[in-house]
């Protein structure tokens, strides 16, 4: 008698194909839409200073610092169509950094620097919410990216 019944062989082929499809989709999205996990950068003290750098009209760098219980800078003003590199670290405990409507989702960790890049095509206010428990004030910890809003005419 064979080790596997024919129905079992079929189900293994189905499983393998499904997993292959998932892996292919991840790689395809990585290539086509530049969807990737947050980048990992070596630690440097300069990241602990919150600031916004304008590289050119459409390219910005935001050095975000999470601390109990706010983000610095708390309000980030940028024009529509900007591409922004967010660099993130924490000054104390672990915090989260999730930009609404965007797939920027990072952990802020003491002694660690992470980076995510995103483009803001539509005007509006995008909330940055801390989604990792960081002590008794955790539920107050929100910041905003303000993309040409209210619109300047």
């Amino acid at each position: 008698m064979p080790i596997l019944a024919s129905s079992e062989k079929k189900i293994l082929v189905v499983t393998a194909s499904l997993i292959a499809l998932f892996v292919f989709s991840i790689l395809y999205a990585k290539d086509k839409y530049k969807s990737d996990v947050p980048a990992c950068l070596p630690f440097d003290k300069s990241y602990q200073t919150p600031r916004i750098n304008k590289l050119d009209d459409k390219t910005y760098q935001v050095f975000a610092v999470a601390q109990m219980w706010n983000f610095q800078p708390a309000e980030i003003y940028i024009p529509v169509g900007s591409e922004v590199d967010f660099f993130l670290t924490s000054k104390d405990v672990v915090h989260g950094f999730d930009i609404s409507e965007k797939n920027v989702n990072m952990m802020a960790i003491y002694g660690g620097i992470t980076k995510s890049t995103v483009k803001f095509d539509k005007p509006g206010v995008y909330n940055i919410t801390c989604h990792e428990y960081c002590g008794s004030g955790h539920q107050n910890m929100q910041a905003q990216v303000i993309v040409n809003y209210p619109p300047i005419k």
Binding site: D92, V93, D98, M106, Y133, S136
Partner: protein, 561 residues
């Protein structure tokens, strides 16, 4: 079969204690849905803080209940299927350590000195008793493995050509996974956190401790799940009135868990610094690997249930679904298993989303996550645990089940509750609702400048599901203690349902031997985790001082950095 009074006692206590603690655990589950839905706009209710309650909920339900049950169920499977009793001394030593640990941690949590959640991420600092308690609970649960290994070796010597009973194989695989993965968290707790919490060490490497935690943290979910899998393979087909489609499939699935349960922990760390994309992608692939045994299980169980339905006279392609014994109070375990498996379909599929590398950015740490894992750990795991707890308790003590009809309905009520609850959470997660947050104070408070009206329907749905789950949970607890307090009507026996195999399968030595699988396990773990730890040591910057939950200024220690 008859077992000694001592073994019976240890099992009964290990089943009863966590169910008693569940009263606190489930109460805090309900309270979170109430806070989150904005019914309360306070930091605490009845002097219990939201985050304190969240810590109690996680530690009791996910660590204490699961560990006590796994040990009790392990003793039962070993004794029943090998017809040999575990050592009295070791069983009681393990019990004493686990109870002491639980009491220490419970004291720290209930006095509000350890509101750091069950993941206890540093540099938030808890009272030393919290870490010590966790360590004792874990070390206590290691002891039986060595005793069971002794029983198994002796049995094997006498029965070299007999297949190891599937339940025994499962219990041993489960505790080997548990032992290996908890080595990392024991190191984290005893070497990194405890001295730091006591003030003997000034700082801690946050990334390293998180990586060690998740080395343990995902294997932990298989430690929760495997007792349920053992029940599904060994008992469910029999309870359904059929046979296990393939016993070999069960063995293959269990050994695959041995290989892939541990080296996948980095998929909880996709969003964090100090680990490179390459390591994260590699562990994505391994995580897909760990889905294979679950696909095998889904097929094998469905085939077994179909066979059972046909034995009961079903017709057509799907007629068997209607023929299964869903509501038989004399066979209530079936209800717990099937309700759990229905939830697990959704729990498993949403898990694949989380594991999918960059797709994790859409859901990471949002309410989607608890939505997902309440359909796994609060689905098949929890239902199998409580169903088996009341079943074993009644059989071992010789008592009658209290309110058998209610006991049979509880799992379906629970399942409906979880489906509603998880739908609310996952919907909320997809529109940015954070997990682990007292939403009622700000985001769900119309008077706050941070009010988010779009999270009103999602949290209300979760509240509705939470209320249904709470009712089902409390009905179970009443039935359990009604059974415990009932009169003894017959002699206590250790009895477990055991299915036959449908396919005739000979013994294949490689699927009946631990050695090759243990070697492969070690190799895969080293390949997956050496680069991860090397990353962390290479990239991580300064170490962090301790913080209490209510103060942005670090705790002053006398030790110099």
């Amino acid at each position: 079969m008859q077992i000694s009074k001592s073994l019976r006692k240890v099992i009964l206590w290990e089943l009863g204690i966590p169910v008693a603690l569940l009263i606190i655990g489930i109460y805090h589950g309900l309270m979170q849905t109430i806070f989150r839905a904005g019914v309360l706009h306070e930091s605490a209710f009845a002097k219990l803080d939201y985050y304190q309650g969240l810590t109690l909920h996680g530690v009791i339900n996910a660590l204490v209940l699961t560990t006590f049950f796994a040990v009790a169920f392990g003793h039962a499977t070993m004794a029943f299927f090998l017809k040999r009793e575990p050592s009295k001394k070791m069983a009681w030593t393990s019990f004493t350590l686990m109870v002491t640990g639980t009491l220490l941690a419970a004291w720290a949590m209930l006095t509000g000195k350890a509101s750091v959640l069950y993941t206890f991420y540093p540099p938030l600092k808890a009272h030393p008793f919290f870490y010590l308690g966790a360590a004792l609970l874990i070390v206590g649960s290691w002891i039986p493995l060595f005793d069971w290994a002794r029983l198994y070796t002796a049995w094997k010597k006498e029965n070299p050509e007999t297949k190891t009973p599937l339940a025994v194989l499962g219990t041993l695989v489960n505790f080997i996974i548990w032992f290996v993965c908890t080595l990392a968290v024991a190191y984290e707790v005893l070497v990194l956190l405890l001295p730091w919490s006591l003030g003997w060490k000034a700082t801690v490497n946050v990334s390293l401790s998180r990586t060690l935690f998740w080395f343990f943290g995902h294997a932990l979910v298989y430690f929760w799940l495997l007792p349920a899998y053992i029940m599904f393979y060994v008992m469910l087909p029999k309870l359904a009135g059929g046979k296990l489609y393939s016993d070999l499939a069960g063995r293959i699935a269990l050994f695959l868990f041995l290989l892939f349960s541990v080296p996948v922990g980095v998929h909880h760390q996709f969003s964090e610094p100090n680990i490179t994309g390459g390591v994260k992608f590699f562990q994505t692939l391994l995580t897909f690997g760990v889905s294979i045994p679950s696909f095998i299980t889904a097929f094998t169980l469905a085939a077994s249930l179909e066979y059972a339905g046909r034995q009961r006279g079903s017709k057509g392609l799907f007629g068997w679904i209607g023929k299964l014994p869903y509501l038989d109070p004399d066979n209530f375990l079936f209800a717990y298993f099937i309700a759990g498996l229905i939830l697990f379909i959704f729990g498993g599929l949403t898990g694949i989303v989380n594991a999918s590398y960059s797709l994790n950015s859409v859901v990471h740490n949002t309410a989607w996550l608890p939505g997902h894992f309440h359909m796994t750990v609060a689905g098949p795991v929890f239902l199998a645990i409580i169903g088996m707890s009341i079943y074993l308790y009644a059989r071992l003590s010789g008592k009658k089940i209290f309110m058998p009809r209610i006991v049979t309905i509880v799992p379906y009520l629970w399942m409906i509750g979880v489906l509603i609850f998880s739908t609310g959470l996952m919907w909320g997660g997809l529109i940015g609702e954070p997990r682990r947050t007292n939403l009622g104070m700000t985001y769900l408070n119309p008077k706050s400048t941070l009010f988010h009206p779009e999270w009103v329907p999602t949290t209300t749905l979760a509240l509705l599901g939470g209320i249904i789950m709470f009712i089902a949970g409390m009905l179970f607890i009443i039935a359990f203690f009604g059974t415990v307090l009932g009169k003894k009507t017959q002699t206590g026996q250790l009895e477990l349902p055991e299915s036959e195999s449908y396919l005739e399968e000979r013994r294949i030595p490689v699927f009946d031997s631990f050695r090759p699988w243990l070697v492969a396990m070690a190799v895969i773990i080293l390949i997956a985790y050496i680069p991860a730890i090397a990353n962390v040591l290479k990239y991580a910057g300064p170490k962090a001082p301790p913080y209490t939950i209510d103060n942005p200024t670090p705790v002053q220690t006398s030790v110099r950095k």
